[in-house]
């Protein structure tokens, strides 16, 4: 395909330019990722993992790595939240906050690399497998800079880190890179918000790697609310060492074509992994959540809950895979996917998978698709609540199940309000 070669040429040009300037950064892992992308190419509809999501179609021939510059002038959601606020434009950090608690480092990847090459080289491109994911490989190959959040050993960051991601490039592929490292016994809470303001037809393909060392903990929330023209491929790659805790909550309310690729590798014993998600697809939105939990070590637990509401002519896709490798005994892995179709022209494709190679495990998955519970509707109507309102109540309750799992109260409140607004707008 032409576009793949075009992007590779641009990546190579960038790498050569960087070589010529003397600083080669983490060029070798970028070249590896470029090679992996070249071998894989963009997935077609015949690729099993993308059979329901033709995201490659959005790679039009004139797509380029060059981004337009600018700034977003708008009030940001979650601005009032108590915490450490960061903002990015086209995936790059606007500025480093002045006063950070001790043990917490936030910087651009380039700065981090200049400060401590060994650290960056040790942690970058470790959590993702280049050969597995063409989009993350492409992003890893292209991104010249990114963001590092590093929490030193035994540091508990008690303020929530809030990242406001802005995109001002309405043409061109934006490929942000994020690296979060929680050292031994460290804990941190991160909330990422992809707001509605900025370029409407943004195309973002991001790679985020999060690593939790022994006894560490990362609590992550992502809220995506870009416009209906936006395309988003979200490659999240989580690597966990023993006795660590990782939780993510991926809330997708916006975007025309969204693909969340969420990979988890609990690579130590006694790990706990929680992956939750909610999506509401309206209009002609296409939202796809692809999760993969790779239980490589015994005595771990994973919990997964994904819920979706699909309306109008939108499409919802869920693919959840749990892999228990040989000798990974005593794994408890639970997965549940629930979806509601609101309109006749909407579609849902779900594929919950279990691949189990160890016998002493407890694994289960459940998937349901249907309408609202008739009995519950009747119950509410019998109490004098009009049908419209009763439906809205039940839908909100359905969606709130996922939101309720978010720790930060003000984020929950923000999402409750958004859910109400979205669902009410659809009902009227």
């Amino acid at each position: 395909m032409q576009i793949e070669q075009k992007l590779l040429n641009e990546i190579n040009a960038r790498l050569e330019r960087q070589d010529a300037n003397g600083g080669n950064g983490w060029a070798s892992t970028r070249r590896l990722a470029a090679g992996a992308f070249k071998d894989m190419g963009l997935p077609t509809r015949r690729s099993e993992a993308y059979k329901y999501t033709p995201v490659a179609k959005r790679f039009t021939d004139n797509l380029s790595l060059e981004n337009e510059a600018g700034t977003v002038q708008a009030t940001r959601a979650l601005e009032q939240l108590d915490g450490i606020h960061l903002s990015t434009t086209n995936g790059l950090l606007d500025s480093v906050p002045a006063h950070l608690p001790s043990g917490l480092t936030i910087s651009s990847l380039v700065d981090a690399y200049q400060g401590n090459r060994v650290f960056v080289n040790d942690h970058l491109s470790r959590a993702f497998v280049a050969e597995r994911d063409a989009f993350s490989s492409l992003a890893a190959a292209a991104a010249e800079d990114g963001i590092l959040i590093h929490v030193a050993a035994n540091t508990a960051v008690d303020q929530t880190i809030v990242i406001h991601h802005d995109n001002v490039s309405s043409s061109g592929l934006v490929q942000p890179r994020l690296l979060v490292v929680a050292d031994k016994g460290a804990s941190v809470q991160i909330i990422e918000h992809f707001g509605h303001a900025g370029a409407s037809s943004a195309f973002e393909n991001r790679i985020a790697e999060m690593m939790v060392a022994d006894g560490g903990s990362i609590d992550h929330v992502l809220i995506f609310e870009r416009s209906e023209e936006a395309t988003f491929v979200n490659g999240l790659h989580v690597y966990q060492e023993g006795s660590s805790h990782y939780a993510t909550n991926t809330i997708t309310l916006g975007g025309g074509m969204v693909r969340n690729n969420l990979h988890f590798l609990p690579d130590g014993e006694e790990c706990e992994t929680h992956l939750n998600g909610l999506y509401i697809a309206r209009g002609s939105q296409h939202i796809d959540n692809h999760t993969f939990v790779d239980h490589a070590k015994p005595n771990c637990e994973s919990n997964e809950l994904f819920k979706g509401i699909v309306a109008d002519t939108a499409t919802g896709v869920f693919n959840g895979k749990i892999l228990v490798r040989q000798d990974s005994q005593k794994i408890n892995a639970y997965q549940s996917s629930k979806s509601i179709l609101l309109d006749r022209s909407a579609s849902i494709y779900a594929k919950p998978e279990l691949e189990i190679y160890a016998d002493d495990v407890r694994c289960s998955h459940g998937a349901t698709t249907g309408e609202l519970d008739e009995d519950a509707l009747f119950y509410l109507r019998a109490r004098g609540i009009p049908a419209e309102k009763a439906r809205l109540l039940l839908l909100e309750a359905f969606a709130r199940d996922v939101v309720d799992l978010i720790k930060e109260g003000s984020v929950r409140d923000y999402l409750y309000a958004r859910l109400h607004a979205i669902l009410e707008a659809h009902a009227s």
Partner: protein
Amino acid sequence: MSENGTELLHEVAQSEYKYGFVTDIESDKAPAGLSEDTIRFISAKKNEPSWLLEWRLRAYRHFVSLMEDGDGLPEWAHLNIPPIDFQAISYYSAPKQKPELESLDEVDPELIDTFNKLGIPLAEQERLVGIAVDVVMDSVSVTTTFNKELEKNGIIFCSFSEAVQNHPELIQKYLGSVVPHTDNFFAALNSAVFSDGSFCYIPKGVKCPVELSTYFRINEAGTGQFERTLIVADEDSYVSYLEGCTAPQRDENQLHAAVVEIVAHDDAEVKYSTIQNWYPGNSEGVGGIYNFVTKRGICQGDRSKISWTQLETGSSITWKYPSCILKGDDSVGEFYSVAFTKGMQQADTGTKMIHIGKNTSSTIISKGISAGKSQNSYRGLVKVNRGAENARNFSQCDSMLLGDRCGAHTFPYLEISNPTAKVEHEATTSKIGEDQIFYCLQRGISEQDAIKLIVNGFAKEILAMLPMEFAVEARNLLAIELEGSVG
């Protein structure tokens, strides 16, 4: 395993060679290879009408195009399929190379042992192992009485070749109507070279008085490799059809690619039960049957019902998805399956329920049991089309692992395009609970028996769906299969 046991196994293994399946019989056999000439040869041998030859050739050309596209064998299944040389196979052989044995004394003692455990009568044992039955048992007359009973009801039940000659209008109307030759790789191959099979037609308003079974038809037994079954149930009719048998089937063909098509008209019901116990290969996974089967039924008429029940214990590779297209309003599809794998066996099996009509419902219950180094996968699709109002589906897939070197996998696909649909899927994977074993041991039940008991309990729901006498044999079969794989 004890010294004696090992010796016995060794003996059994030896005995395969001793009696072999290489007895050279003068047979009408096409040279190995696959070409348009092979197809013309098969068609001419069977004295087929020209439309059928054309149909076969169309299928062959499609097969060739699939091979040329570089796709060939589909790769999506969770199977490790060794390359198959389609040119090394002889596609026509009549009669099949069957061992000519004089008496039961010459038969593999392991087989006899199994027969006894299954409780199969001596005379039938002889027939099953291929001893010239007419000497000991007048099976021909059994078949004849049976056929008379069917004829009286207007039921047509004959070999596919006979049906082509005697009922060409029915064959032409229904052949390929459920599984077109373009459906998949193996369906294309089967459509091109199918050797024989069964045809069954149940007329309007007739409830078939007996369980129809390939077992009753002597000529059926030798048509293994590329079999084609077509069952048509006309309005308001009922038939229960049974394929295979519990007895171990030894066959010289490595590759089996069968196609089964079922058509159910208004108010008709077809119950199709399978027990598959082909040779699974030895403990290293050498030999054994590759079983690539396309089975599909269409609930063409309103209020029709198709029900698949299967017990899969054999074959080294199983690739099989008995499916229902629920086209008629209020039609019902069911799939009940127990798949047991051990040794190096691989199974990727499940179903497809395609909801098209209004108020259709489907039930899927699948139980997978893996032991040894085997891989056992459930793969199923539930599709609710835009216009399928009030579709209901319930799926349950439970897997049990016996040992820590095997794998149990679940790959369900749910594609829903109608808001009134209610689709539920649940799956669990577990091993036999230590508390369950302990409970049995406490009551003086040996561990071996406890495992049998628990596995049988796990599969009971499904086995109960089989016709009664087969349910008993199926339970015994499962127990026998377990014997070699646990403890």
